[in-house]
């Protein structure tokens, strides 16, 4: 464990992303250097339009940078072909979205199984792992419910189970409490704290300070650049 603790999961160098909007070019990221070590819990903050989601998408291999370099777990990622990126998303990344993004017609169990299906995990193991994951997020009794039959908090817990079922290197959460009331949001954040306590590396996008306070490091973006990068004085792991 201690060997991996200082190992960089995420390392970006001069990461840039431009969007072409008609004749105009939007520089969403202008050169981001960021290193995130194993078991870090990082909040990315910043005003709307500052490039948080863009950075998240690049780190999550959903998108490719216009310029710059990116190593995930020591492997260069920028410029990999589509299918290779899909494989990385499947094995190394767990996404949690503001709007949950569950498949509406599938049960909670099937939603959680989905990454394992694409990972080619055999049926039995798939089922067992998905069930175990749902138990960990306290949804053992909701496995066969569809998203419409679940509350917002329960849906987000299904999404978290789905994100974690493939044991990703990093959990990426974009405003995970944005669609939840504060009570439920607090429950989700407590779950994140627990996961971090168990060694999970977490990157969290939020514009709310009290959410960001759960993280031990806050990176603030402004106009596509890192404006500040602060370690918090919150107690680290385990103590």
């Amino acid at each position: 464990m201690s060997a991996s603790r200082n190992h960089a999961i995420i390392r970006t160098h001069a990461l840039k992303k431009d969007y072409v909007l008609g004749a105009e070019i939007v520089h969403a990221l202008r050169g981001v250097d960021l290193v995130i070590d194993a078991n870090e819990y990082v909040a990315i903050m910043g005003p709307s339009g500052s490039g948080k989601s863009t950075l998240m998408n690049l780190i999550g291999c959903l998108d490719t940078p216009t310029e710059g370099e990116y190593w995930l777990d020591g492997e260069p990622v920028a410029g990999l072909p589509d299918d290779e990126l899909a494989r990385i998303r499947n094995r190394e990344i767990g996404f949690v979205f503001q709007t949950f993004n569950l498949l509406p017609r599938a049960t909670a169990l099937h939603n959680v199984e989905l990454p394992l299906i694409y990972g080619g995990i055999p049926r039995r193991e798939r089922r067992e792992r998905a069930q175990a994951m749902l138990e960990r997020v306290a949804l053992a009794d909701r496995m066969h419910h569809r998203p419409a039959e679940l509350s917002g908090g329960q849906r987000q817990r299904v999404a978290i189970a789905r994100a974690l079922v493939n044991r990703p290197s990093i959990l990426l959460a974009d405003e995970p409490t944005g669609n939840l009331d504060s009570q439920t949001g607090a429950e989700i954040m407590a779950l994140f704290d627990l996961l971090h306590g168990e060694g999970q590396t977490i990157l969290l996008v939020t514009h709310e300070h009290d959410i960001a306070e759960h993280a031990h490091r806050a990176v603030t973006l402004r106009d596509g650049l890192i404006a500040s990068d602060q370690l918090r004085s919150v107690p680290a792991l385990g103590s």
Partner: protein, 412 residues
């Protein structure tokens, strides 16, 4: 993702949108339905013709001499030529009998519709009346159920006796014994000497509603002008003699008609093969023309499915984004859409098969056409449906696979 999971997913999708799915595959349903219905009837006809029809119409090992073909597709000019042909006569049959030089039975037969009336006034109309030689029964393998057949002397002297078909006897006499009773054929009195075994029907036409009397009896005037017969039937003792017998018959008839080497035959010589080849011609036409019609329905069906799948891909943009985000590769997305499209279309094909079979049954029940459901065509129809779905799914699948996950996730 394995295809089985894909099919389950597709079925869930289809269940959720039953009506839309139904309309999506309507083209496939119609195409397959017609395919199965028509093929079943054609197959049924095929089996029927080769097994029953040829024997019942032409008889086994028999050769028929006629003025024009029994079954034909004649055009008007051909028809006019046929009308100018001389008709067959009793003397032609006598000449064949004398000159054939092969072990064979020879008979004449002429027929017409008749009205039969029993002594108590019971009338039966539309009876198939034949004037025939005594050997006609043996040639056509008509078996007697009760009484007896008429004899060559009874034919020669034109005795007014008659052998009735099963249905004709029943309609005229009910439960009473028909043997020895008088029956008026078109008003002329005959004595019933026998009743034939029941033979059933051919394309809805009863083979038992008939009466057969000696060719020289008073029926002669009812069926043809004096001295004329409709056909001469020859039965050889062995099928291997048929080609030789045909050649000799042709030679005998040509010399009797005084035809020169360059003249065509002004008569026809047919065996059950001619009936079969006629049918083979019809079924070939059906098998050639029909796939064209079916493919039009399937192409239209495919285009409809393609459009529905395109709409479905657009509606599920976000879902596709989610799947990509959690690791679906291009080929996973392509497979998902293809499996869904093939499942949809395959289900349509199954529905089409069910309706087609129903239609074939209906045809069999309501019309004299037979129908046989052929398993290989059912398999072909399912494959066809699945294939159409696959092809129709290619473009929507490619569109889905090409979606940018970031854009797809932000959709709506």
């Amino acid at each position: 993702m394995n295809p089985r999971a894909g099919i389950a997913l597709a079925l869930a999708q289809i269940r959720a949108q039953k009506l839309k799915s139904f309309f999506a595959v309507l083209g496939v349903i119609i195409g397959v339905m017609f395919l199965i219905a028509v093929v079943s009837v054609v197959e049924g006809m095929n089996r029927y013709i080769t097994e029953d029809f040829a024997r019942q119409v032409y008889g086994l090992n028999t050769i028929t001499v006629r003025r024009v073909p029994e079954i034909n597709f004649a055009g008007p000019s051909e028809w006019r030529e046929w009308q100018r042909r001389p008709r067959l006569r009793f003397e032609d049959a006598d000449a064949i009998h004398e000159q054939l030089g092969l072990p064979a039975l020879v008979a004449v037969e002429s027929d017409a519709d008749a009205v039969l009336e029993a002594e108590d006034g019971t009338e039966v109309k539309n009876v198939w009346l034949s004037g025939a030689s005594a050997d006609y029964f043996r040639i056509m393998e008509h078996e007697i159920a009760r009484g007896r057949l008429f004899t060559p002397p009874e034919d020669r002297f034109g005795i007014p006796v008659v052998v009735l078909g099963h249905e004709a006897a029943e309609k005229l006499f009910g439960s009473r014994d028909p043997l020895g009773r008088r029956v008026r054929i078109n008003g002329f009195p005959f004595r019933v000497i026998g009743v034939l075994e029941q033979e059933g029907s051919l394309f809805g036409f009863s083979l038992d509603r008939r009466a057969i009397a000696p060719a020289h009896s008073p029926v002669a005037r009812m069926v043809n002008p004096h001295g004329i017969v409709d056909r001469i039937v020859v039965r050889v003792s062995d099928a291997q003699l048929i080609p030789l017998a045909k050649l000799r018959l042709e030679a005998i008839m040509r010399s009797r008609r005084g035809l020169r080497p360059n003249d065509g035959n002004n008569f026809v010589i047919e065996t059950s093969d001619e009936g079969l080849s006629f049918w083979a011609r019809i079924s070939r036409i059906l098998y050639i023309a029909f796939p064209g019609l079916v493919s039009i329905a399937l192409v239209v069906g495919g285009i409809v499915i393609m459009n529905i799948m395109l709409v479905s891909v657009v509606e599920r943009t976000r879902e596709i984004g989610v799947r990509k985000a959690i690791g679906a590769r291009r080929r996973d997305i392509i497979l998902q859409v293809l499996v869904e499209s093939a499942t949809l279309s395959g289900l349509g094909a199954i529905l089409g098969i069910a309706i087609g079979i129903g239609l074939a049954w209906l045809v069999r029940a309501l019309s004299p056409l037979p129908a046989v459901i052929a398993p290989q065509w059912i398999a072909a129809a399912v494959l066809l449906g699945v294939g159409v779905g696959m092809i129709a799914g290619i473009y929507p699948a490619a569109r889905a696979a090409a979606l940018d996950p970031v854009v797809a996730l932000r959709h709506e």
